[in-house]
């Protein structure tokens, strides 16, 4: 499987995820959330940041089911789902992830026929990566 290639700006997201926390970068001056992480705030141009805990509840904004040709680790699990989840408290913050049956389950553990746009989901963690399960 591909590991996230972290940069300085994005590293805190993965550090919190490794501790089982979902946090999103926010401007420490104007408070606007932003994702993906960036060096400064596009609303007020402040470089002050904080990492704000979010509820981990959201809804499926869209999803796909990839089929081969794919990288070998992914081809072995195909067809699997990839979802975009919009956060309940900040619908314009959207996270790419996978909808699984339980934390740590394979990418193809949930029947894609059960996925619907708008379905309520919540975050779980496995091996430092956020995953999503149906609520």
């Amino acid at each position: 499987m591909l590991e996230p290639v972290k940069d300085t700006t994005g590293a805190p997201f993965w550090e919190y995820a490794a501790r089982g926390e979902l946090r999103v970068q926010a401007c420490a001056d104007c408070g606007e959330l932003r994702f993906p992480p960036r060096p400064c705030c596009p609303h007020c141009q402040s470089f002050a940041e904080e990492w704000r805990p979010v509820s981990g509840r959201g809804r499926v904004w869209s999803y796909v089911v990839p089929h081969p040709p794919l990288l070998p680790d992914y081809a072995a699990q195909a067809p699997y789902n990839v979802v975009v989840v919009e956060l309940e408290e900040a619908p314009r913050i959207r996270l790419v992830g996978n909808l699984v049956t339980v934390a740590g389950a394979p990418l193809n553990s949930l029947d894609p026929g059960r996925i619907r746009i708008g379905a309520r989901v919540h975050v779980v963690f496995a091996d430092g990566l956020p995953q999503w399960v149906l609520s």
């Binding site: 996230p4 796909v64 790419v96 990566l129």
Partner: protein
């Protein structure tokens, strides 16, 4: 100073298109550039400007040396893969109109058909922004666009039949074009609906070809164009588009992900044009994936938001329809050379030499990739 009709495309050239060509990309680039100059009746030594894509692997130094270009006073590269196609022409038009150069060549050479297949090996390098997508198996451009497509279908009630209409129009035009990869391969609805998935909701026929080939075109000033052998095709308007808060092809982090770069490019394009979408006779719309076409139809103002799917109904995209598109077969059925074949086909339409000619066409829209920072041209033969 204005760009409007100040420059014209006076030469086009291409190599054959195939899944596998024996020659390397640099050789193919040389062949396409020399063919375009020959078509323009201009000697290589007169060329003083070059433009291509940042992903073009034939270095301008090597190209200029190989084909015997003159002293170059302008060279540029446009970014974002298929989003750069029309920008190459736009950059040359600006350079010539502003006196930076007098004869410009834009080109693209690509061996995607026989090149490496990054999705089947493990040594692929992850660009840093991919940390937010690829670990989760959102690996390929097809997956990224399929995600937008699913949301588009959900939001507006568009259907796979609408995507099929796009694939069919391109295939029907390719069936008229002996140079097209799919010249002798008709497409039916049954073939489309029963084809294998690439990334649901996109099936095999929603995806462009993988092709080896090269194309080029030659630009000069309006005055110089009168001395060239072919009908001048004027660059009436040109634009690039990188929307605020855009994020590559994974455009899910905009406030409104279904209004992509086409909307940004279109605003500038129409602001500087003497005509409107209603006056466009034929369009070459970037079609790496079928669903980019309804998005572009909306973005460039041929219909309202959410109406791109229904616009494709009733043969609207076919010859004789409201807006014939991709009349050489496009990326879906002629060749996928990062959209450069759409530029050359736009020129053929306005010369009256297309294999699927729209009668008396005088205006053509050409677009670059939607979903990535893009570019577009309005071409006309009205002098």
């Amino acid at each position: 100073m204005t760009l409007k009709d100040a420059t014209a495309i006076v030469g086009i050239g291409r190599t054959p298109f195939a899944r596998h060509l024996a020659e390397d990309e640099r050789t193919l680039a040389c062949r396409a550039v020399l063919a375009a100059l020959d078509d323009a009746g201009i000697a290589p030594g007169e060329v003083d400007a070059l433009a291509s894509y940042t992903m073009e692997e034939t270095d301008e130094v090597e190209l200029a040396k190989a084909v015997g270009l003159g002293d170059l006073t302008f060279f540029s590269k446009a970014g974002y893969g298929g989003g750069g196609s029309c920008a190459t022409v736009a950059h040359l038009a600006a350079a010539i109109a502003s006196g930076q150069a007098s004869v410009g060549v834009a080109w693209r050479s690509r061996k995607r058909g026989s090149g490496p297949r990054p999705w089947t090996n493990t040594t692929v390098q992850l660009p840093t922004p991919a940390q937010w997508t690829r670990p989760f198996g959102l690996l390929r451009p097809a997956d990224e666009i399929a995600m937008l497509t699913r949301r588009y279908l959900h939001e507006y009630g568009a259907t796979r039949d609408h995507l099929f209409n796009v694939a069919l129009a391109c295939r029907n035009r390719a069936n008229q074009n002996p140079a097209a990869i799919m010249y002798d391969r008709p497409l039916t609805r049954e073939m489309y609906m029963s084809s294998r998935w690439i990334s649901e909701p996109l099936c095999l026929f929603d995806n462009c070809l993988e092709t080896d080939g090269a194309l080029a075109c030659v630009l000069v000033s309006r005055e110089r164009a009168r001395d060239c052998p072919n009908t001048p095709v004027y660059v009436h308007s040109a634009a690039q588009g990188l929307p605020a808060q855009h994020h590559g092809m994974v455009n899910y982090w905009n406030d409104d992900p279904l209004t992509g770069p086409a909307w940004t490019a279109a605003r500038h394009l129409w602001k500087h044009a003497d005509f409107t979408p209603q006056d466009v006779d034929v369009a070459q719309i970037y079609d790496a994936f079928t669903s980019l076409v309804p998005l572009s139809l909306e973005g460039y103002g041929f219909c309202g938001r959410g109406e791109g799917g229904s616009f494709t109904e009733g043969g609207a995209l076919e010859i004789g329809g409201r807006l014939p598109i991709n009349t050489s077969g496009g990326g879906l059925s002629e060749a996928y050379v990062h959209g450069f074949n759409l530029i050359d086909e736009g020129v053929r339409q306005l010369r009256g030499t297309s294999t699927a000619q729209v009668p008396d066409a005088t205006t053509c829209l050409v677009t670059a990739g939607e979903g990535v920072p893009t570019s577009a041209l309005l071409l006309t033969n009205r002098s």
